[in-house]
């Protein structure tokens, strides 16, 4: 039997195949499965639960030598809460599956637990159960279950031509932080134990964004208070370009992104300058910012707190494709790919 390497088809195709082979849900309590940030199922009385699971694996998603264990706990919780938030739901419960190599100490495990607890408390999540097992590489798999009214759920698929494309916070910072940490690791490897690590306090923000990101729960709570509900919503985990493509694919629309409108922090610009790279590429393709991308009709924008988001483009008919207007004014196709645009020097 001929065998196909998984690297030939990539992660998104593997998830698509999972959805295809496992088949469409026959259970009519299930509202959505593989095509959104989290699965949605009815629990009765017009309420739904949303469930999402994401694993962080050593040597793939993180390097234990430079992420403090508490931050790892914070990050594992944040990335899953972010998927629940991206359905416009409130996170409620979490379970943890932990794979531990022998060279992890009990004190390190306790620090990991403290990070998980700290993040869980910050998001109002109760950690209800867990499993630990041996493993060759540290593996941290978290499932978060959230709750919402069925009508409050916002899918990727609701974008409409004419909607404004908006993002919260700023973009590219987590990638800038990763670049700086990888540089330090390389120098440490080159120069050995005598290497005196550089003071990165001028880059504290971007490093923090990489090591201990925050899910944007405050944003959706603010929307609920204001009675605002976006047409489409997704969290920015794989880079803005990738998420715009997801929304356009599910909504059967196109989109136009204005590169000059991308929100970028000063430290992120400084980091890109240091590496002599184009900071717009960090903002378009750098992953792990865990901000939100959402679409809304223009006449509803003034109901939002204008300090919490910026408009970065517009939703167009599908026939117009997914494009970006460069700072020079050129209109070019926006590729969806993230890290690989940067020459593959990321962690994955």
């Amino acid at each position: 039997m001929s065998q196909t390497l998984i690297t030939e088809i990539g992660e998104f195709a593997l998830i698509d195949r999972m959805g295809e082979v496992l088949g469409p849900a026959e259970d009519d309590s299930v509202l959505t499965g593989f095509t959104d940030d989290a699965a949605v199922y009815r629990i009765g009385d017009g309420r739904v639960h949303v469930a999402t699971t994401d694993a962080l694996i050593e040597a793939v998603h993180f390097d234990r030598t430079f992420i403090p264990m508490e931050h790892l706990g914070v990050k594992a919780m944040a990335v899953n809460v972010s998927d629940v938030v991206a359905m416009n739901a409130q996170p409620r419960y979490a379970t943890i599956a932990l794979g531990l190599p022998n060279n992890v100490s009990v004190e390190q495990v306790d620090a990991l637990y403290r990070g998980l607890r700290q993040a869980a408390q910050a998001y109002g999540v109760t950690i209800v159960g867990g499993d630990t097992t041996a493993a060759r590489f540290l593996t941290l798999s978290v499932t978060v279950i959230g709750e919402a009214d069925e009508d409050a759920i916002v899918y990727r698929s609701g974008a409409q031509p004419g909607d404004v494309l908006c993002v919260t916070g700023d973009l590219g910072a987590a990638y800038a932080g990763l670049k700086l940490l990888l540089e330090q690791r390389q120098l440490l490897q080159q120069e050995g134990e005598d290497y005196d690590p550089e003071d990165l306090s001028a880059f504290q923000y971007v490093v923090q964004r990489q090591l201990a990101p925050t899910a944007q729960l405050g944003i959706i709570r603010d929307w609920a208070e204001r009675g605002v509900q976006p047409h489409a919503l997704i969290d920015i985990s794989d880079g803005l370009a990738s998420e715009v493509h997801h929304v356009c694919r599910q909504s059967e629309t196109g989109a136009l992104v204005y590169a000059t409108a991308l929100p970028i922090a000063l430290e992120t610009r400084d980091a890109a300058d240091r590496f002599r790279e184009d900071v717009d590429l960090y903002a378009l393709f750098g992953g792990e910012d865990y901000e939100l991308l959402f679409t809304l009709p223009e006449d509803q924008l003034d109901r939002l707190d204008d300090t919490t988001f910026v408009a970065v483009g517009e939703v167009t008919p599908a026939s117009a494709g997914v494009r970006v207007q460069t700072p020079e004014g050129d209109m070019v196709d926006l590729e969806s790919g993230g890290y690989q645009h940067f020459g593959g020097d990321g962690m994955e």
Copy 2:
């Protein structure tokens, strides 16, 4: 800071620490967390959901060279459904987190998905979502969510002195299957590629119990039809002795197990004979049978289908400890430890 190796404290202590550090649930919708097979939380109208998560990791829980990928999918689903069944709840939804090394083919991933689908259909589970990522070792983490009436839930903590201690099916078979598979692997390693694998068809049952176990969903459905509800319930994943200790610890009781009453299949006896080992030790300490251990007052036993279980002992006051009566009639303390009693030649 002094560091303690995790191997010094062991898996159960690590889960206890997780419960301690993450703190008792402050959310009053949470009925139980770390102290049972699955977490239980209220969803309204007297109904609860139960959630459990368990990971299978290559080189720890399985050897890819001898478990077919479809069986791996079946097993990953079964072990999680078994935890839901052990709360006396019906499995409903599952999410999958898959870590894939580069040397896994797309065809193998499809086979894994087919196994997951086959098991999900058999148990009435809808796979609602999934995540795939790169990994150094194949990692399959499954979360299953089940549903029940709140008063149908059976905890580990309900055993009462005088209850009969019962088990479904037979014990030790999965361990016997593991021993045979490990023997074949060793011969293959010693004799190289020319090794002609032994025909194991005389041991088909025990090998199947190891590679593709079954969760006992039929048993709890039968109980529901008969209006029977055990006092205490747990699934037998780490060996009978370990599970008896869990029930006694949570119920604050002791127990007495009769070694002569242990249900053991003929093939399991044949396998133990082949290795010149004591088959009672397989039944007491061999893991992964995924049968159920439950306790019930003696006068309710006749309401059960007597082809589905055997009485293996009784629940005693805590002061009597956890003991086993050997075939010779001696009363000895029953240790909880499983695999390590066998000299550590298991997979974990």
